[in-house]
Symmetry: C2
Subunit: 547 residues, 2 copies
């Protein structure tokens, strides 16, 4: 393939997808040209202004939580078709503004919604607890009849090899959901900037000059725009949590093999021998849907049939917590300094929590270095004697995206395991880090760890770089959750030219650029205690965001 070839193939693919947006849902060119990655504006609030959504569709997409919508479909206030139409339209607008979608399943979603309505009418009951809820899924999840390119030009047309839906897609459909779009990612899914040579770059809807994060960037961008209220991401170094914290939505990294991942494209052979695994996890506009997505999916009888690798332990809804929850707090790791707003936001969160009678704060000072954790994680990322990533890129001849080139260069001083012995040493080092965390949890009798998910809020495009605050938990396989909290405030969070950021990032802080960007906290607990993270998370979210 020559250079020209891959560009033409990518362009043709993108055009074929764009055509799936009905004419009456398209934004005029003059509007579209106003919104691009150099426009420092938020698009939140614009969707209803283009005359594409009618009043009822604005109401459907803006006035309700996902669970309220489910209730209203079940009691026939809205039809599934009305709800699906509203969210398909809104997703179409969202992707025209922020490039958040890859494959568009509008026709299929509307046909399915019609069938769901007929089913409800005929049977007097819903298909299942997700009856009629539009759910978006990351491009990596296979859906029969659609490509799973994950941005590789060489993967265009791979729908011919996709014989069945991913396990999770099957389950969601059988529970009654409607899947209306697949969402954008960076090529390789190994960068925090969701850009690729097919679909282009996903923008942050709160400020188009900032990254939406990655690799589940399209998912977070779409959810923030309410083009979907519940979505599916994946996470091997922060890919579900980074976009969540960049766009201000909820994102959950489940424990390895705790959530169905069968039928995710490109199951890396590394995973067969590596403790670091690209997990699948829910992302949502509202906290409550995370637990719901764990509960419904893991307690679905066929879950372990559809995904044989699943650790087939039911989701435990009856976890009991102590009266006072002991929260171990990491305000900052010296090796990965926070920028001014994130430093303040984490402190604000801890202050607020410390005033709750439900919570006891334990400050942690001696813990593993997050920068060191990143180095080890990077060792696993690059433990690939066959270089699958390079192979997939060179098949088409496409160029590597800018953020990936930076990552490769930024980390080239790290040791890449070459020999068997290196891999064992890496394993021992990882184990010692994991043990240290477990010792902290034990010695301090912690019920949760609270820490930053990044040293910053959404940075400018292609400046995110490394992600040690999320990557640590992939290294040790701890379930971890992003909760949005607070915002950058230019009047409080002043520029600080003296701050030294960690290696491997290009991000800078400029109070005028970042003003209004969402802050966040991250909650973490030990392997396979996913229930604990969400149960404690619910309480902490209530204290932080609902009181």
């Amino acid at each position: 393939m020559s250079t020209g070839d891959w560009k033409q193939i990518a362009k043709a693919k993108k055009e074929s997808v764009d055509k799936l947006i009905p004419k009456e849902w398209r934004l005029p060119d003059d509007i579209k040209s106003k919104y691009n990655e150099t426009t420092p504006v938020s698009v939140i609030g614009l969707h209803k202004t283009f005359g594409i959504l009618n009043d009822k569709e604005v109401e459907i997409t803006e006035a309700y939580t996902a669970n309220e919508l489910l209730k209203h479909i079940a009691d026939k206030k809205f039809t599934s078709l009305e709800v699906a139409t509203a969210f398909c339209k809104r997703a179409a607008i969202s992707t025209q503004l922020t490039n958040c979608c890859t494959e568009l399943l509008f026709q299929e979603a509307l046909a399915r919604a019609k069938w769901l309505d007929e089913y409800l009418e005929e049977n007097g009951k819903t298909v299942g607890p997700l009856h009629g809820l539009p759910i978006s899924v990351k491009d990596a999840m296979n859906i029969k009849g659609f490509d799973s390119t994950i941005g590789y030009v060489s993967f265009i047309g791979n729908k011919k090899d996709i014989k069945e839906d991913a396990a999770l897609v099957k389950i969601l459909l059988e529970l009654g959901a409607v899947i209306h779009v697949k969402t954008n990612i960076p090529t390789t899914m190994m960068s925090a900037d969701s850009e690729n040579n097919i679909f282009g770059r996903t923008l942050n809807p709160l400020n188009l000059t900032l990254t939406a994060g990655g690799s589940s960037g399209g998912e977070a961008s779409l959810i923030k725009q309410r083009g979907s209220l519940v979505g599916i991401g994946t996470d091997i170094g922060g890919s579900a949590r980074i976009p969540s914290l960049c766009c201000g939505v909820y994102g959950f990294r489940t424990s390895n093999f705790r959530y169905p991942q069968e039928g995710k494209v490109l199951k890396s052979r590394n995973n067969y021998s590596s403790p670091v695994s690209a997990i699948v996890g829910p992302m949502a506009y509202d906290f409550e849907n995370l637990n719901q997505m764990m509960d419904l999916v893991l307690n679905y009888p066929k879950a372990s049939k559809y995904d044989p690798d699943l650790i087939a332990i039911p989701w435990n809804n009856n976890l009991s917590l102590p009266k006072k929850i002991r929260v171990g707090v990491i305000l900052e790791c010296g090796s990965v300094p926070l920028n001014p707003p994130m430093e303040r936001i984490i402190r604000d969160a801890v202050d607020k929590l410390s005033k709750s009678p439900l919570i006891e704060i334990v400050n942690l000072t001696d813990f593993p270095s997050f920068q060191y954790g990143w180095e080890l994680l990077h060792g696993y990322f690059t433990s690939d004697p066959k270089s699958e990533i390079i192979t997939n890129l060179t098949k088409s001849g496409e160029k590597m995206i800018k953020s990936l080139i930076f990552l490769v260069e930024a980390n080239n001083s790290f040791k890449t395991p070459k020999a068997f012995e290196d891999f064992y040493e890496l394993g021992e080092a990882r184990y010692q880090v994991k043990r240290h965390w477990l010792k902290i949890i034990n010695d301090m009798s912690l019920d949760i760890i609270l820490c930053p998910g990044a040293s910053h809020t959404a940075p400018k495009h292609d400046t995110f770089g490394n992600c040690p605050y999320t990557g640590m938990w992939n290294l040790v396989d701890f379930p971890s959750l992003i909760i949005p909290f607070g915002k950058v405030d230019k009047d409080i969070d002043l520029d600080d030219p003296s701050i030294k950021y960690c290696e491997g990032t290009l991000q800078t802080y400029d109070k005028d650029v970042h003003h209004g960007s969402p802050g966040h906290i991250q909650l973490v607990y030990r392997t396979l205690q996913d229930e604990n993270v969400l149960k404690v998370g619910e309480i902490i979210d209530r204290v932080l965001n609902k009181s």
Copy 2:
């Protein structure tokens, strides 16, 4: 160290342990000399004939299950001291007959029993649900004040480095148990013949010319002699299950990290990077104690504190089973032929089960080759660039035991991973085998798999060799259980000179030698579904052995 040195050191160690048997518990030399590895007799029934156990002690050690004893201690029919004394004496006799113990904790056990009695008297309640029950543990489990040599001469004296009890030992003691002995193993714990240069060879109490199995051979031999009714083994290729099937007791291989293993000596660094792990699991005279040992330990609040690596999922006592249990049966794998009695015994078991209204038999024909599984497992065993085993042996200069030399030679055609790439290929191959098993369970809607645990009953010393029927489940990390069932019968199970055994074994079948040896079945299910194995196992044990 010269050759003479290691022999003297080993001899001194053995003598120092032997001295811990009180004079009045010692067998006369003329009796001891009658029972050795060339004597084709059973010692079951002899223990009460030496005048060491008084009538009450015979009653205590022979007339009750472990749970009945616990009840009788709690309601003061027996004191803890009486029970501990009886089992210490019986263990002393057992080890003089079969060499089943390493460290003898008689003094400590009696002192503790006295304290337990005082506690019960003063507080009117027991210390915990295991109050006063003598439990034996494999030599590998650390106990403060005692060596954990696991047979290495170079490990003699390592008690100086053992600062605390193993996690499981702590838990058992806090639950009220009394630990009275540590039990014998093969050097390295990688052979099915429990022989080492310090403590010698453990004999099978049912026929001293047969192996007790390994590596938890001392444990199974002791339990069969009722020198202990509940014990702790470990298992990386069958080490808890092989001795169980050789001696006719129950043994359970738990899922990786499902049972506390912290404080097991020689945590191999391989385990940090390998999916094959030396797990810890219970062994018992009666089935009911397996579930009890899982339940009490995993629902003990401090379990995950004492073992940070533990997958801290409580033991689920409320598992519901279908009305009819679908048992997938593997009568034999073509690559590992069964000898005449085991072939008959497995068929007998299936026949008996098929008549139960609770059970539906599904014959499995297409499944992964057990010989191939063994080859892959062997790849993990030898994935050790630093050769820890050889290092530990050469430190003292001791010679390798015969059964290990055979194993090394028998498997020297197998590929040993040298390069990183080999290790990845091994990981992929393992994954495909695991997927095949999961597909079988799914496609056939199985509730359990039933298969042999070995192609034979206890063979002669140093002829066991490879163990593909147990090793398969270590490879794929499936919990698996040995249930004793049936016996070799020389009138039915005739010699068959035409049978071809698998590679890697020296075992032969001789109806006169093996007459009366216990048969067995093995039950298996998917990773972390340990509860399912024991719950189904309970029903199957009842049908096979109690009806």
